[in-house]
Amino acid sequence: MTAMIDIANAEKTFTMHLQGGVELPVVRCVSFHVEPGECVVLSGPSGAGKSSILKMMFGNYRCDGGRIGIRHQGAMMDLAKAEPRQVLSVRRATIGYVSQFLRAVPRVATIDVVAEPLIANGVARPEAREKAGALLHRLNIPERLWALPPSTFSGGEQQRVNIARGFISDLPILLLDEPTASLDAANRAVVVELIDQKKRQGVAMVAIVHDDEIRRLIADRIVDVTSFAAAA
């Protein structure tokens, strides 16, 4: 087995204590695997649990059962049972995550927001900023904006900053939550190119995309999330 990701029978239920303890089952029996250089797209209608699965794979949501196998530093580990320190180590060295929305520190310049994951991994600041600049340039963020914090940018610009931040590291696994949702055609094409490049580097990816055209361009395999529906 060379799989980078191997999920078996993962499940998630939310218990809403403020609503009288209502149990909200989201997914169960989630099982799929992803090989290096492969992009698996999760499909299914809104509310089917696609984002929840992605968040469990990043350790952002807890997993209530089953196993989330991740190849981390040469060995398989179960993220569902990992300690916080191990999850942080996985995020630093193995899994990158491009969320739908940018969550940035108020005062930090765009170029530093993008360069930060590299700096956290020990890359020298000038080199990290150079790489960040190249990516921002490629994603059509004009240089005059790089010194500004992204909080004042338009939705599409913020998303491109977010994509640059997610793609800058050379991590072996990348999770993409609607990376093209608010982008125009030219920028969508850039993202497709970036994804192709990651595939050639052997990166394993799991993506959520609603755009049929983009899905056709990037998906090597589609996993239908409705088959994991937990609701009876």
């Binding site: 403020l18 952002n60 807890r62 320190r85 999850v87 630093r92 108020p106 991994n121 020990g122």
Partner: protein
């Protein structure tokens, strides 16, 4: 300098709390708290007023004697020692050098009537520095690091704004290169814009210096920005603990769900 969270030297905890508790007569301020803090790790303790978080911080920093349990700290020789068993000289070393303590009210952590430079320099003199020029240079460079105009070095902090005082307090604490910093509501009482600047500054300093920190806050946004891990306290007990974004995005306990859902959207 890069973030130093992995690496073999960090596989051993810096501070360990075991079954820690404090009563005031029949009143239980805090009970049965156990955790390990690793070098370079930032832990937030969150909960509402009266939940026992400040008592816990005082127990952890040896300012208050525990009624139950113990706190151990790895001294610079690599040996984990029970804080209650330390001699006076060792305790002084911790307070003056190896630890920092940032109070919510800067007036408690600073000497308000002496100059900013002396406030920073005092910690250096306490550890044996005696060259005036070097002390002043180091103090100026720290003022710069916390974004205080070096032209204000001879002014007393009572002439400073609240945000500047808090930044000065941070400089005073970090000048001796501590390995662990305790912070009690470090952004409490500051304007929102001043808070953002301070948070950004603290976040950078903590990661550049590879500091471990224990931050008490009732503000979940502060916990999210600064900490790796969070402990939620209620009625003197830790009711939920985990990775910060996990606890805030997928809270499990009723009280944590209430806290998270009580944040007003900006």
């Amino acid at each position: 300098m890069a973030e130093q969270v992995c690496g073999p030297e960090n596989d051993q905890p810096l501070l360990v709390a075991e079954g820690l508790g404090k009563n005031y007569g029949r009143l239980i301020a805090c009970r049965d708290v156990s955790f390990a803090l690793y070098p370079g790790e930032v832990l937030a303790i969150v909960g509402e007023s009266g939940s026992g978080k400040t008592t816990l911080l005082q127990l952890l920093s040896a300012q208050l004697a525990a009624s139950a349990g113990r706190v151990s700290y790895r001294m610079r020789d690599g040996v984990l020692r029970d804080l209650a068993s330390l001699g006076e000289a060792e305790r002084r070393f911790l307070f003056r050098t190896d630890w920092g303590y940032v109070h919510q009210d800067p007036a408690q952590g600073l000497r308000m009537a002496v100059s900013a430079g002396a406030n920073v320099g005092e910690r250096l003199m306490a550890v044996g520095w005696n060259h005036y020029g070097r002390i002043r240079d180091t103090a100026s460079s720290w003022l710069e690091r916390v974004e205080i105009d070096v032209g204000r070095i001879d002014d007393a902090p009572r002439t400073y704004s609240g945000g500047m005082r808090q930044r000065l307090q941070i400089a005073r604490n970090l000048v001796t290169e501590p390995r662990l910093v305790f912070m009690d509501e470090p952004t409490g009482g500051l304007d929102v814009s001043v808070q953002a600047r301070l948070l950004d500054l603290m976040r950078n300093l903590v990661s550049e210096l590879g500091l471990a920190a224990i931050v008490v806050t009732h503000d979940l946004a502060v916990a999210r920005l600064l900490s790796h891990r969070v402990m939620v306290m209620k009625g003197g007990r830790v009711i939920e603990t985990g990775l910060t974004d996990q606890v805030l995005d997928d809270p499990r306990e009723p009280y944590t769900q209430l806290l998270v859902s009580s944040i007003l959207p900006a």
